[in-house]
Symmetry: C2
């Protein structure tokens, strides 16, 4: 089968044997996969990754012990949990210490014609949701995770900082949950995408960034930069909450004194509930079409990855043509 | 009156006019004051402070519009709030943006024969509590603040890192609230202080510190060092909470990736409820006598401050002899 392989900071398309599903696993034939910033970081060699990346996908089940799954169009939870430890028993398999992670940690990913996942990880995609939108399930679930972790006071204003893919999804998810959201970002065209949802947008100058200080009870940092984190932290008022939704490679220098004096709560937030994401996609209330910047055949993945890393580009999809 | 004055990293005892209480304020005659690490930081010039420090005290009310207060032995909330803004109206005057802070921000402190405070800040000290224990009200309230901010799961194990004054108080407060506590520290003699409360203690080597990784649902960092923060962060398990109870001067380099992947919550925590602290002191269930390392007359404050900054020394008190 065709697959994208990353090693030593380079992506190549290779021919490699089709994976064989283990007991309890299904064999999936990829339809569409999405390029995430994490994939770009793997490509930059941040985590010493080598192998097949890709964790955002829509696929067809082509082999499975439980024949009821065969032929179904699915998305899949990316954390492969042991299902036995105390985390798994508490329903938090996403934090299982023995987990592998699709396309990220020790389990080959979705940038390939075929992939495998435990049947327990699969969710059927409702037929109303086309492939190019269903592929947003995983990042949308990550946005939904904020609502699982933070009990927002009704009507409290939320600032989302960062108009990248994740920031755009977070702003939409929080707005659809009924919260008044302001999205701060550096690119007017990206900010415009979420305006139809009634989200307030605020353009931040790259040269002399200005954001309101200590003004919000809730701020979400989706900037992916150390400077963005510092800016987001300054926007949180006393006793407020800063949701940390994007990672920065390496160490961020943090002045904890104001965070302690103002009794700020910082919440690290990662993967989220797929079911909630599918519900939102089914309701078709999100602005996602405008977030698509291009689609490439799987064999053109190196070009697609280059483009995905370019400024101003949002979601790039890979499609399996076989 | 005699007062301790800090300027340019030096503490001197000066003769200065007795303060005049403004409308709504009481004039207090200091009985005993406690030296806090914050005072040592002010002395080191960390905050560009100059003036009279001191925010832990027991005093007698000697002048007050409301004569019912006169002659009462009191402690006092250190944040002088405007009592008009939205923070004050929500009962969070400790976060009032216009506040001054006794002995720290623009209000002369308690290392003096006399000080002033708003009557609204005063609490009478029950007669069962002697001066040398009542002086712990303020730092004890700061320890109690953790219970206000974090809703602990019943029976969940808590690790407290740091066997300084604040760490010792936090371990005791959390233990008395019914939580199983382990106190980690570098000094066996300090750790021994809290053993009578049934607190588990764990000695950490200075040369090769070892602490359990991702082992606790709740960790409190009371180390006051960047290395301590990093160590405390590593002890928190997925979805766990790290309470940041001590500040480090300057910037701490933080690798946020594990905090985000493990969805850790960090809670900045500062001043707390005096009433809760007085309740604990009245119940006389804490080991505080063993935390006293010395008592000096106010005029010997420079010597007392030197001693308070020495390794192994815990609480040093200043007593007004007039």
């Amino acid at each position: 089968m065709l697959a994208v392989h990353i090693a030593q900071g380079k992506a190549r398309v290779i021919d490699t044997p089709k994976p064989r599903p283990r007991r309890g696993f299904a064999l999936l034939k990829m339809r569409v996969a999405g390029i995430c910033n994490t994939d770009l970081e793997l490509l930059r060699g941040y985590y010493g990754f080598s192998g097949i990346p890709g964790h955002e996908f829509v696929a067809d089940v082509v082999a499975c012990e439980d024949s009821a799954w065969i032929g179904k169009r699915v998305v899949g939870e990316i954390n492969l949990a042991c299902r036995k430890c105390s985390w798994c028993k508490r329903g938090l398999g996403r934090h299982c210490p023995r987990r592998t992670v699709l396309g990220i940690v020790k389990h080959p990913g979705a940038f390939a014609e075929f992939l495998t996942l435990p049947v327990a990880n699969l969710l059927a995609v409702p037929k109303q949701i086309p492939d190019h939108l269903a592929v947003f399930t995983e990042p949308l679930a990550a946005a939904c995770e904020i609502l699982e972790q933070v009990k927002f006071a009704a009507g409290a204003e939320v600032a989302v900082l960062g108009d990248g893919k994740l920031g755009l999804l977070i702003a939409q998810v929080l707005s659809l949950s009924g919260l008044p959201v302001t999205l701060y970002g550096r690119t007017r065209e990206k900010l415009d995408i979420v305006k139809p949802l009634g989200i307030t947008t605020a353009w931040v100058s790259r040269k002399s960034p200005k954001v309101p200080q200590a003004a919000y009870r809730y701020v979400v940092d989706a900037t992916g930069s150390a400077a963005g984190f510092t800016m987001a932290a300054g926007m949180v008022g006393p006793r407020g909450t800063l949701v940390m939704k994007s990672t920065v490679n390496g160490r961020t220098p943090v002045d904890f004194a104001p965070l302690i004096v103002n009794e700020i709560t910082l919440v690290g937030s990662r993967c989220g509930p797929f079911r909630e994401a599918l519900k939102l996609l089914k309701a078709n209330a999100l602005q996602l079409e405008a977030m698509l910047s291009g689609e490439f055949p799987l064999e053109d993945a190196p070009t697609a990855l280059d483009l995905a890393a370019s400024p101003g580009v949002l979601k790039i999809l890979l499609r399996s043509m076989t």
